[in-house]
Each structure stands twice: as structure tokens, then as C-alpha cells.
Subunit: 127 residues, 2 copies
DNA sequence: TTGCAATATACTATTGACGGAATATTCTGC
DNA sequence: GCAGAATATTCCGTCAATAGTATATTGCAA
């Protein structure tokens, strides 16, 4: 993965928000859509673009596609996502997204809704 | 200056190389062109684009336009330029550029060629 | 004022990314 | 096999960024 590819991925707000959400663990598309409150087709296209850049990976689990950051983590990506978190005060949406995600994930834990097997305990949120 | 604007600037190799060169102090366009071995018009357009994003500033000194990173430095930019330096082994061009620049600047110091008054002693190179 | 050096702009064509709408694919459960 | 859920793809129009070529602007020096 190339510097330029990383920055090409980071230079769009929705992609930044997606990376921010994936930072704590894999997620299926439906969660991303719900947190971002975004159009399914748009998110799917962004994910395809990000995958082409090598910024995310995906695996299928039954009906669901699980997206994750590649292992081992790219240090440039990690550093920039940290910056996002540090600047949370100026850019509220990123922390709001994480809060919303944690609510969704706990709802799943509690009620066992129709959702894929995600290792939800890898999601530790700062807020 | 916005996160997205920063990344929009970073996602092009020539712009990255320009920022890398400006990191140690202001430079006139002719030095950038010489180090990058690039077309004058292209560099001028890139600088205009970067200026519109708020990533560089410029002042005229006689015939020369001096470009610099804005003060105070943007921490996101600083961090990413540091990463560039840390990954010098994988991305040789950035350290090569700095080496080439230091040669040009010392040539000016020694021979007093037709070049603008740049505070060359603010340029401390790692290599 | 003329000429030259340094830099910027205008014009045009091309490419890449994005949005919207419709449709296709893949898997599951019946 | 069929219906439905989750996700992806295709088609098309638009806009932003890039490149190439030509030309304009600015300032200095003679």
C-alpha cells in the first residue's frame, strides 16, 4: 500500500468516517449504513473504492459482507485515525459515529438481532 | 484548514514532494522546479491548488515568488511529513529531493548566484 | 522603453470520482 | 425452486482535477 493511496482514501469525509468506525474491529455493511445514515449504493461504492486501494478487506458471512482494516495495521493509517480522535472536539461527527455504533452493537448483544457474528468485544470505545 | 483539505493536498505525489521540500523553510518556485525536475506550468498550477486549500502561502520578492508552509504549523501536516521521513527507505524520492535541495542551497551560499534572499540556515537536513 | 527572467493564467481536452436510478448477484429459509 | 434480505454492479450524466500548449503578467536592469 502506497502513501498516495492512503491519502486518496482519507480525502473524503465518508471514507474517513468508515475507517474511523472500522478502527476498533470489523463491521458489516448494514452497520456502516445505519451509523452513517447513508445510501446503501453509495456506501457499497465507497467500500469498493477503498478495497481497490487496499485500505479495507472483506469476507462474506452468510448474507453479510464483513469489512475490516487489513492486518498488520498500516502505521500511517493508524496515526491519522488517532489524529481524528485527538481532534474530536473540532470534528464531532467522528466521535458521534462511534457512540452511535456502540449503541447499535450493544443492542445486538442484548437482543440477539439478525446480525452476523462479529467479535464485538474488540470494540472498545473512547467515549 | 480542514482534515479533508489536508488529505486532498497530500494525495498527489508531486504535492507531497513539494510539502516535503518546504518543511524546512521557504523556497522560491525555481528551486522547486529544479529539485522536482518538473514542468514550470505544472508546478505553478499545483502551488495554486495548494494555496487554495490553505496548505501553502506565498510572497513575492522581486522576480521570485517564495512559498512556505503557513504559521503556525498544522499538526496533522507536520505529523504526516514526519511519517514521510520515517519511511524514507521505502520512498527514496523524498530524501533524494532533500539532498538535491541542500546541494542547490549550498551552491547558492558559495557562489551567490541570482537567487532570492531566503533564510537558508533554517534548512537543516536529516541526510 | 525595451528586453529578459520568473511565474501565472487561459484555453481545451481528457480522465477520475461521484451521484442517482435501476437492476443484478449471492445467500438463506421455506 | 422461490421469495426475500443484504450487498454489488451497471449505466449515465456531471463535476473536479490534470495535462499540454500558448500566452500573459510582473519586476528588474540596461
Amino acid at each position: 500500500m502506497d502513501f498516495i493511496d492512503v491519502y486518496k482514501c482519507l480525502c473524503d469525509k465518508q471514507r474517513l468516517r468508515i475507517l474511523n468506525l472500522l478502527k476498533n474491529g470489523p463491521l458489516c455493511v448494514c452497520h456502516l449504513i445505519e451509523v452513517l445514515d447513508a445510501d446503501q449504493v453509495k456506501v457499497s461504492k465507497q467500500l469498493k473504492y477503498m478495497k481497490a486501494l487496499g485500505m479495507v478487506e472483506s469476507t462474506r458471512e452468510a448474507n453479510w459482507m464483513i469489512y475490516r482494516l487489513p492486518e498488520p495495521p498500516n502505521s500511517l493509517v493508524v496515526e491519522n485515525l488517532k489524529c481524528l480522535q485527538d481532534c474530536a472536539d473540532e470534528h464531532l461527527c467522528f466521535s458521534k459515529d462511534l457512540k452511535k455504533l456502540s449503541q447499535i452493537l450493544s443492542r445486538i448483544d442484548n437482543q440477539n438481532l439478525n446480525c452476523p457474528e462479529i467479535v464485538t468485544n474488540s470494540h472498545e470505545f473512547c467515549c
